[in-house]
């Protein structure tokens, strides 16, 4: 495989609140391969948005390295640095908050185009802006350009956010919960449009979501990374990970999700957690942070040492899992409710 377009290496990030330090990301290692469909999933607060911001250079890590096209972004200067910042774009999770209500759609799109000198003059900007709206299927283009955000539906606004991210001709887009705020009935259309952008523009999309069914759909030909309390606990090919989840947290999540099929969802087996309380980031349990809730934890091991991501020896897939009993090849029998 060719060199990944981006790489996170040993990324830590903490925030300070008064005297307490909140460790939000710990030891995140992640390759983003060119043109792959990659999803980051996990419940709220697990660090998805923070990871996205770090990828896009909007937030510096407390420790660790970010590589873009093989180069440490810290070493990038001048034009190279500007190119990195333009090449990796984050789409904000909230299309309502991220669009300035006093600007027309044309204003929003033309500003970065002119500012980065990607086009010359209003006329060229208008032409390019119109092309971008076509790309995100926001038509009739000429109507839309002169509208204000409040005149658009939620789905249309999200398309504007995506068009705006495209102004700088990025090679990587981090789409943070980009369809979560719109109605279920139009989510797939947005997702399909983003998937088409990959083919049309050669842009690699990292899709962040808490919805595993959407993650599955988006990254069926790609990979999923599952995060829990600031760490990556399982990462690998979607088809293997969904069909055969290995990490206890992934298994619990998949077993808990209601499905849009009455018979299936009512006969689904739910794995019972040992505790429903989610630990605070400021009081993370020692060892594997899932251990106080994990039905399969091994005393003296899991509560002692932090498990590292690795492909379990007995596994016939390449999915990496950070869990001791799984790595030792133990069969985790199902605890049913």
């Amino acid at each position: 495989m060719s060199e990944p377009i981006m790489r996170l290496e040993g990324i830590y990030r903490s925030f300070r609140s008064g005297r307490t330090v909140i460790p939000v990301l710990q030891d995140i290692n992640l390759d983003i391969n060119k043109l792959e469909f990659l999803c980051l999933v996990g419940e709220s607060g697990c660090g998805k948005t923070t990871t996205g911001k770090i990828l896009a250079g909007l937030l510096p890590p407390s420790d660790g390295k970010i590589y873009f096209e093989g180069r440490d972004v810290n070493d990038l200067r001048g034009n190279d640095r500007r190119r990195y910042r333009r090449s990796v774009q984050l789409i904000h999770q909230d299309p309502y908050a991220s669009l300035n209500p006093t600007q027309t759609i044309f204003d929003m799109l033309s500003f970065p185009l002119l500012h980065h000198k990607l086009v010359k003059g209003q006329k060229a900007a208008r032409k390019r802006a119109a092309e971008l709206l076509e790309l995100v299927d926001l038509t009739p283009v000429e109507d839309i350009l002169d509208k204000y955000p409040h005149e658009l539906s939620g789905g249309q606004r999200q398309r504007v956010s995506i068009a705006r991210a495209l102004t700088t001709d990025p090679s990587v887009i981090v789409a943070d919960e980009s369809v979560s705020m719109v109605d279920v009935s139009i989510r797939i259309g947005l997702l399909q449009m983003m998937m088409n952008l990959r083919d049309e523009l050669g842009v690699t999309i990292v899709f962040i979501t808490h919805d595993l069914a959407l993650a599955k759909y988006f990254s069926w030909e790609g990979r999923i990374g599952v995060m829990y309390l600031g760490r990556m606990v399982e990462v690998g090919k979607t088809q293997q990970l969904i069909a055969n989840p290995q990490h206890p947290y992934t298994r619990v999540l998949l077993s808990a999700i209601p499905e849009p099929d009455p018979e299936k969802t009512r006969t689904k087996r739910h794995i019972q957690l040992r505790s429903e309380d989610i630990p605070r980031l400021t009081e993370l349990p020692p060892g594997c942070s899932f251990h106080p809730r994990c039905p399969w934890y091994i005393e003296g091991v899991c509560d002692h040492t932090v498990p590292q991501l690795a492909v379990p020896a007995t596994s016939n897939s390449q999915v990496e899992v950070a869990c001791f009993p799984v790595q030792e090849g133990q069969a985790l029998e199902l605890y049913e409710s």
């Binding site: 109605d183 279920v184 139009i186 989510r187 209601p258 499905e259 009455p262 969802t265 429903e276 409710s337």
Partner: protein, 345 residues
């Protein structure tokens, strides 16, 4: 729907229409809605945002905003053989009704508790407001309910709201909601914005409570999975109207209305390798001047001329599964085509 009310019907909504009066005109938020809710039954109202789900549920407990006007219809409530029209209750009767008969939970739930009062005080106040002053009895009942929602009862009872996580608050609210033993519990988006594992806990708790206390549930959700899991009956709401209603299995496995079908095919499934999913084209209409005929026609893949002219009524081959659509056969053909593709996969 003028048949007599059977004993097992707790709530009958009969030809209800509601508008919101605004400067720009009247928003027709609810149009000719009718349904029966039976004892112990869970009914889901599903549909996109702005379709009128919340409006219907608020009308059931008369909590509509000031600019709302009920233009016609009845909300009949039956308890111990007595039938009353909720829309005609006096203020005092209404206050009683809202806790003892029909409770609404989760409306802006995270802030529903007074932050400076202990949970205990909030249970006691609610009980006292309804003439129940024996604190020990209240405590006993409260602890029992808190246990039922799988919380540590003693601890939560003495806690302040901020000491509880979002999911715990949600469950505490549920316990408080049923303190006075209502027959009907209304839940507006009960799991929206909750994480998967918290959602799961709420669903399990609700199911358990419903079995134990045998109340009826009306819940509103845009989440089809939740309806699949919890509802006995599902009603699809579009542009203020019920466009399809039926038993949950019929609705999911044999949808008769293109909108219901559209909603179902817009969600990917975890266990499907390849989903034949697609979004519903367009957006819900403006309810100040809704489309003529079938309101779904501008977005409907099966629409014919008739659809823009005449408004279809709810009909069905089975008495309990009704849909308002002129072209049910076209939908059936399309569904068969999808089934063939899925088989060929």
């Amino acid at each position: 729907m003028s048949q007599p009310m059977n004993d097992d019907v707790v709530l009958r909504v009969d030809d209800l229409s509601i508008v919101y009066q605004t400067k720009r005109g009247n928003v027709q938020a609810t149009t000719n809605i009718s349904f029966d809710l039976k004892r112990g039954q869970a009914m889901a109202l599903i549909g996109e945002s702005g379709s009128g789900k919340t409006t219907v549920s608020l009308s059931l407990i008369r909590k509509l905003p000031k600019n709302a006007l009920i233009t016609q219809g009845q909300v009949l409530y039956q308890r111990d053989g007595n039938v009353r029209d909720v829309l005609k209750l006096s203020k005092r009767e209404l206050r009683e009704f809202r806790w003892k008969d029909c409770a609404m939970v989760f409306q802006g739930s995270q802030n529903a508790f007074n932050p400076v009062l202990k949970i205990r005080t909030q249970f006691e106040d609610t009980a006292r407001a309804h003439g129940w002053t024996d604190k020990n009895a209240v405590r006993e009942r409260a602890l029992e309910l808190l246990r039922l929602v799988r919380l540590d009862p003693e601890r939560v009872y003495e806690a302040y709201p901020h000491e509880l996580s979002g999911g715990m608050k949600q469950r505490t609210l549920l316990a408080l909601g049923v303190l006075l033993n209502p027959q009907v519990v209304i839940l507006d988006e009960p799991t929206t914005a909750l994480d998967i594992l918290t959602q799961r806990a709420i669903i399990d708790v609700l199911n358990e409570m419903q079995q134990r206390l045998n109340f009826s549930i009306i819940f509103i959700s845009h989440d089809l999975s939740l309806a699949a899991e919890m509802a006995d009956v599902v009603a699809t709401v579009y542009a203020g109207e019920i466009v399809e209603i039926g038993p949950v299995n019929d609705m999911f496995y044999d949808p008769q209305h293109p909108y219901t079908h559209g909603l179902l095919t817009s969600v990917p499934k975890l266990d499907h390798e390849q989903d034949f999913v697609s979004s519903i084209a367009g957006a819900p209409p403006n309810l100040i001047s809704p489309p003529s005929g079938c309101k779904f026609h501008p977005r409907c893949p099966y629409a014919t001329d008739k659809c823009s002219e005449d408004d279809p009524t709810l009909t069905g081959e089975k008495p309990d599964h009704l849909a308002a659509c002129w072209n049910k056969d076209a939908l059936l053909e399309a569904r068969e085509e999808i089934a063939r593709k899925e088989l060929a996969q």
